[in-house]
Symmetry: C6
Subunit: 75 residues, 6 copies
């Protein structure tokens, strides 16, 4: 997302889900801007079930937004 | 979901709920990509009431999205 | 919900709330499929204020979905 | 709410907020049906900031539903 | 909010945000009605990052409701 | 946001995301008004994975509101 977030429109739900994951990470990166610190934190959440569930909840919230933006990819 | 998420449309609310569970798991799997680690984590959340409640909350958020996508399966 | 979730439409808000409770439980049951384990977990959340508040939050999220599905039971 | 939840429509936002509080409590009461146990739990959450914040979040979710049901009490 | 909550309509997003903060506090006050206890709890959450983040999440939920009520203050 | 929040309308999703981060911080600042205390709290959340995930969830909720306000920046 080097050029910044320019659109919420994606071709497929799969691409919409990937964007939701990116926005969840972007929410962390705008708070903790140091990539080295973020990388050092990975073991503490990537091996913790409750942290992973919490991440999935953030992704679900962003996916809800992106799905609405794409009118749920209805044909 | 081998081919990736291609649609949010399901025939029934039951299928919509199953998709919501899948998307909740997908949110975890995109963060912790190693299936062996995810499997090793199962005892820590599958036997913890608060973790199970948190999982149910993620499913509820995805189900809200999928229900809207399917216009609540109204006839 | 033996036949699976076939509709979100209910006659009354009360029935809608009961369905929201059921879906919250369904979210747990699809993750921890063993009823004996779920039953064994009950004392740990049914006597814990924070767990009960978290359950109520899941019910509130499902109730929001079901209320929208029923157009808020507006006459 | 002896007769059960019959409507989400309220005359004022204040009454809507009161209903949201009731539904939050109803979500707890449908899980822990014993009023004596619920009463015994009160000191543990009513004197805990994080528990009170979590309760407020459940009320906010129900209030969102009730406000939409009442078309935000717009004249 | 002595006269009770009479409207969700505000002139500006800033006023809408202030109302969201008030409703978040109202959610706590309806659960813990004793102002002295609420005041005594302040040090425990006002100096705790996770509590402050949780408060901000409640405000965000109420702000979502109020923004929709005001059609996002779109001219 | 010295002049207060005057609009939710932004030119781009990127600007909308930045506004969502600001509103998440505003939710904290309206509760803990002392900038020195907020600054002192930073190490406790900026180096904690669960806190950062929780912040991202607040941002996601505000972003959902802002995206709807901007009709998802659909051309």
């Amino acid at each position: 997302m080097k050029a910044g977030l320019t659109t919420l429109i994606t071709d497929t739900p799969e691409a919409g889900f990937a964007l939701a994951v990116k926005l969840s990470q972007k929410g962390v990166a705008t708070t903790q801007t140091d990539p080295a610190i973020r990388k050092a934190l990975r073991p503490s959440y990537a091996h913790d079930a409750n942290s992973l569930i919490a991440v999935s909840h953030v992704v679900a919230t962003h996916f809800q937004t992106i799905a609405a933006a794409n009118d749920y990819w209805r044909k």
